[in-house]
Symmetry: C2
Subunit: 199 residues, 2 copies
């Protein structure tokens, strides 16, 4: 390897970013040091600030630097609805759809006994408390359509039963703008099972 130790170190450091392999890391290293030292300084500052202050919302477990995130503290949002998702990125995706005005609950994962991830690791205690408070009318289960996501959804649905909370799962089917021909058979099977009467 022909790079000096500090350059190798920086390349290695950049590898912690998802999707960054050796080639990208090298490109980033040279770019920052040759062309954008100011950007690198800003990145250090942003990282430092985020690491120091960003934690989890105490209601919904979304990443944020306040005790309560700005969705949970927004009085215009419907507090009777909770959409339950696996990750902060899912919150962003649903917000981008502009179709939902309720609150969220972020599991930060899914049940996965084989990996040692149980109910306590995905915030079930906190969620149970919110169920018990009695002000929730509906939970919308928006976990991923995977084996683990489905299992997690069923687990939460079971938890909600004693509280007589309406429990729904987001629809799974053919994506908008997609062509039937290119949709995988599992999705098509779901779409057929979940067919609805046209009004």
């Amino acid at each position: 390897m022909s790079l000096s130790p500090l350059l190798q170190n920086l390349m290695q450091g950049l590898r912690c970013l998802p999707g960054v392999g050796p080639k990208s890391a090298q490109r980033m290293t040279f770019h920052l040091l040759q062309h954008d030292r100011l950007g690198a300084k800003r990145l250090i500052e942003a990282l430092t600030q985020a690491l120091e202050h960003v934690g989890y919302c105490q209601y919904c477990r979304m990443l944020c630097e306040e005790t309560v995130c700005h969705i949970c503290s927004n009085v215009k949002r419907d507090k009777a609805k909770i959409c339950i998702v696996e990750s902060p990125a899912d919150v962003m995706a649903i917000e981008a759809s502009q179709q939902y005005r309720g609150q969220y609950f972020v599991l930060m994962g899914h049940l996965s006994p084989l990996d040692g991830i149980g109910p306590e690791d995905i915030g079930m205690e906190l969620l149970g408390k919110r169920f018990a408070q009695g002000d929730i009318a509906e939970i919308i289960l928006a976990t991923n359509p995977t084996v683990e996501g489905d299992a997690t959804a069923y687990y939460i649905a079971d938890m909600a039963k004693p509280y007589k909370i309406q429990t729904t799962r987001i629809a799974h089917g053919v994506p908008m703008g997609g062509e039937l021909e290119h949709v995988d058979s599992g999705t098509l099977a779901q779409a057929l099972v979940g067919r609805r009467e046209l009004e």
Copy 2:
């Protein structure tokens, strides 16, 4: 935008990395804060160290934290040959071809009058001094096969003439319009072997 200020700030900070758009930046932000805070800390440290200590080799202008880079200070390398490249990434690419045991000179760019980049910006003064010292037998021009790279090569060839230094250009086994950084090492090895005298 549904993210708290520090998260937005971190996303913005990550955008200074080449190839990172809004979607990747968001993914990286969530990944670091959810799953890899230790990695983020190491990245801060690596960036800080690199920004503070990495400068340029005083002989070849390669990025490094020493006054003289370890290629220039390596006594096993042929000091009579200088391979002239546009960027540190090009040094890495040629080193990977394992076809070259001489030294380098890194221009950190190419002549580009329209962008206001003249000879003094690509280290021509330093290179001229090395020519004048008289211990160079051959320069290998390995600038990119682009208009600017070719122009830069001819400029340097002209500079070398009074010193009777043998001047070669790497063979155009390198695909035209491509960049050295992205060429596979076998092709680069071919290009080095097939270098020809400039008339």
